[in-house]
């Protein structure tokens, strides 16, 4: 309205930037921004010139020189002759692997524990409380190191499996070996024709979704409820299994076998990975459980009672009434727990898991002496990972949050 009252033709004067309340706040903000930018520029310049004085100009060319060291767990091709940049990538993938596995397991444990803590069964509820209080109140580093030392001390050495007087034996028809160097599990070998099985499997997963939607529509239209769980389970397994046998069992399993010093073949899950994964999951799950409990308790008791009055069974009340509403409360803290788990994975070096901090921020930093550059790259990488997780989870949050119409 103020604009409309201005007599037309009165031109803009510079002093209005200071004395006119319409422009003053903008002026102040622009000046602050300029000062802030100058401050950052000045600090960076200071750092650069000080490093220059020390004869250590920031230089990122080390990323393209051979790393010279080996990494035990590599998800992509890597040798000691690969570049430091490649080692960075290997570390990044290892970080993402443990973060991904950790988030899944932590969610499963956390949701179960959170729901069970609200159970009417006294023992179950108390046990879950004990679990949460123990894991929430011990530093995660200690849990990681503790898990690792259990793996090292209490699992048998590979040589204990050897010979006629072997003191240890493999599990599940000699296909799984648990040693103090990690777990060896069978590895699927894809032969000719295996693609068809995989495609069938993927199609049946798609089929499950389509069936779910159709069943829901049918229920809304007719009120009939199908035993969807069993049908979905059948769709999940049957087509793939049938095609697997029709194609002549094209997917084989490579069994781990004791050869030389170690087991060979199969998938080697190193105990550094397992202990880090379990420790991070158990620790974060305690927090997720509390978030889940808070979310469920945030739903008014009247909702449960109203649902019960309509004749819904307790399980359906939870699945159809309470949890969908609780998710709105649960998701935001869940995002921050996922971020915490990912960032906590940088404690990996305590057990020698070669994650981002172990490769770029550890060995590369040490062998090249490029501390500042490595740490900068490290921070940027973690920032990028965290922001990506945040973004994905926010999209999900938007999809479940209360729609105001």
């Amino acid at each position: 309205m103020a604009m409309a009252d201005q007599p037309a033709g009165k031109s803009f004067r510079l002093s209005m930037l200071l004395y006119d309340t319409r422009y003053r706040s903008i002026t102040i903000q622009v000046i602050m921004l300029a000062l802030f930018a100058y401050g950052v520029y000045w600090l960076l310049g200071n750092m650069y010139s000080n490093l220059d004085d020390l004869g250590k100009k920031p230089d990122f060319s080390f990323l393209s020189t051979p790393a010279g060291y080996d990494i035990n767990q590599r998800l992509i091709e890597y040798t000691s002759q690969s570049t430091n940049g490649r080692a960075w990538l290997v570390g990044l993938l290892n970080t993402l692997l443990v973060a991904f596995l950790g988030c899944i397991l932590a969610t499963i444990i956390g949701v179960s524990v959170g729901v069970m803590r609200l159970s009417k069964n006294w023992i179950v509820a108390r046990l879950m409380t004990v679990y949460i209080e123990i894991f929430r109140n011990i530093p995660v580093l200690i849990i990681i190191v503790f898990a690792m030392s259990i793996f090292i001390k209490f699992f048998p050495q590979p040589k204990a499996f050897r010979g006629d007087d072997a003191t240890a034996s493999m599990y599940l028809w000699d296909s799984v070996a648990l040693t103090n160097r990690g777990w060896y599990i069978p590895k699927p070998i894809f032969e000719n024709g295996s693609m068809i099985v995989v495609v069938t499997f993927l199609l049946s997963i798609l089929g499950i979704f389509i069936f779910g939607k159709w069943a829901k529509k049918r229920q809304e239209a007719t009120g009939d409820i199908l035993p969807t769980f069993w049908i979905k389970l059948a769709i999940f397994f049957l087509p793939a299994v049938v095609v697997y046998f029709i194609m002549g069992q094209p997917i084989g399993l490579e069994q781990p076998e004791l050869k030389g010093f170690n087991f060979k073949g199969g998938i080697h899950m190193r105990n550094s990975l397992i202990s880090l994964w379990l420790a991070l999951s158990l620790y974060t799950a305690a927090f997720i459980a509390e978030a889940v409990r808070a979310g469920i308790m945030a739903i008014d008791k009247g909702q449960t009672e109203a649902a019960a009055a309509l004749g819904l069974r307790p399980k359906r009340v939870m699945n159809l009434v309470v949890l969908p509403q609780a998710l709105r409360v649960i998701i935001p803290p869940l995002i921050s727990q996922y971020l915490n788990l990912t960032k906590n994975s940088s404690l990996a070096i305590a057990v020698g898991y070669m994650d981002l901090t172990g490769t770029l921020g550890g060995i590369t930093l040490n062998q090249t002496g490029r501390a500042l550059e490595s740490i900068l790259l490290l921070m940027i990488t973690y920032l990028a990972i965290s922001l990506s997780i945040s973004m994905v989870m926010n999209v999900y949050n938007n999809s479940v949050k209360l729609k105001e119409r």
């Binding site: 004869g55 010093f261 062998q367």
Partner: protein
């Protein structure tokens, strides 16, 4: 208000960054204590004893420098550092010198900006295995799981050795010697590799040292020595010539027992110059004239330090080998005190 405080802090940080680079010698004298980076615990080289006093071969070097500069061999603050953080600690000024079984290499000297002040132990990388593993040579280690301390030259040597010999291995990276011991003893790795001297020192602390053996191969050159930051030559000179004084003392027969006597003057002009009864070598270093007397009185000469900490009479039981004086067929040799 808050903003002006912020800007003030930023300005202060900027000024501080400009000032913090006076001479290390002055800093050490002003602090009255030498901050010396050592290993996190490697018996024979640097480890605290039952009473918490640090002792060992590398510790002896720290004490000798403290004796030369501050006149008190106990005026040392020992900073235990893992191999991974040692260089950052030195270049950031957290410590004044590093005596931590550190290999003198081209890139550390030239690129990382350090000055190695000499070699106090000529070493090489070895492999330790259990005797019942049935391995007699490093060439039979194809497929083995190997414990290595990260951030060391041994990590790179290992990669090179196995690549050149066309063998594969599973590296288990470890931060400290103690963790390596734990993993090795529980059989989580077949082999433990690091400098042969450190392997011998580690083995000596095992419950049953006889169950373990060092493989005959020595796969690298590892000249270990103390180092300082580059760009502070006067301080580097003090550390360098403290080490040289220790070695020259052994060569000339000056020992912890007789150094006070010899400091009064002898027939040998080099001893006189070194111990300060002739000329003013101490003054040239920025120290007083009997600095070298205190250096030798602190823990004995090079030979005495070696014998009492890692020599054949100690638990570690290393023979002098390459580390004998040049007059006895070894490599230990210093420029003259002149």
């Amino acid at each position: 208000m808050k903003k002006s405080v912020l800007l003030g802090t930023i300005a202060a940080v900027g000024v501080m960054a400009g000032v913090a680079s006076a001479g290390t010698l002055d800093d050490v004298k002003a602090n009255g204590v030498l901050k010396c980076g050592v290993s996190t615990g490697l018996v024979g080289f640097a480890a605290p004893d039952a009473n918490g006093n640090w002792e060992g071969f590398d510790v002896g070097i720290c004490r000798a420098v403290a004796a030369a500069v501050l006149g008190d061999s106990d005026a040392v603050q020992f900073v235990p550092l893992s191999s991974k953080v040692r260089f950052t600690a030195l270049s950031s000024g957290e410590i004044d010198m590093l005596a931590r079984n550190t290999t003198w290499t081209f890139s550390r000297d030239v690129d990382l900006g350090f000055t190695f002040t000499g070699v106090n132990y000529y070493d090489g990388q070895g492999f330790m295995v259990r005797k019942d593993l049935g391995v007699a040579s490093a060439t039979e280690l194809d497929g083995a799981t190997i414990c290595i301390t990260t951030g060391t030259t041994t990590e790179l040597n290992l990669a090179d050795y196995f690549r050149v010999n066309g063998m594969s291995y599973e590296p288990v990276p470890i931060e400290t010697n103690a963790e390596a011991q734990q993993q090795y003893l529980s059989g989580a790795c077949d082999v433990f590799t690091t400098d042969a001297s450190a392997l011998a020192a580690t083995r000596a602390t095992f419950e049953n040292p006889d169950e373990h053996m060092l493989l005959p191969e020595i796969v690298s050159k590892e000249p270990l020595g103390p180092l300082v930051r580059e760009g502070d030559e006067p301080w580097g000179d003090i550390v360098r010539w403290t080490l040289n004084a220790l070695i020259t003392a052994e060569e000339l027969g000056v020992t912890q027992a007789n150094v006070a006597e010899m400091a009064k003057g002898t027939d040998n002009p080099e001893i006189n110059r070194m111990l300060g009864s002739e000329g003013d070598l101490g003054g040239m270093l920025g120290l007083d004239s009997d600095w070298a007397v205190r250096v030798i009185a602190a823990g004995g000469n090079y030979g005495e330090l070696f014998e009492s900490n890692i020599g054949e009479t100690s638990v570690i039981g290393l023979s002098r080998g390459l580390n004998a004086l040049w007059t006895q067929g070894g490599l230990i040799y210093t420029p003259p005190f002149r």
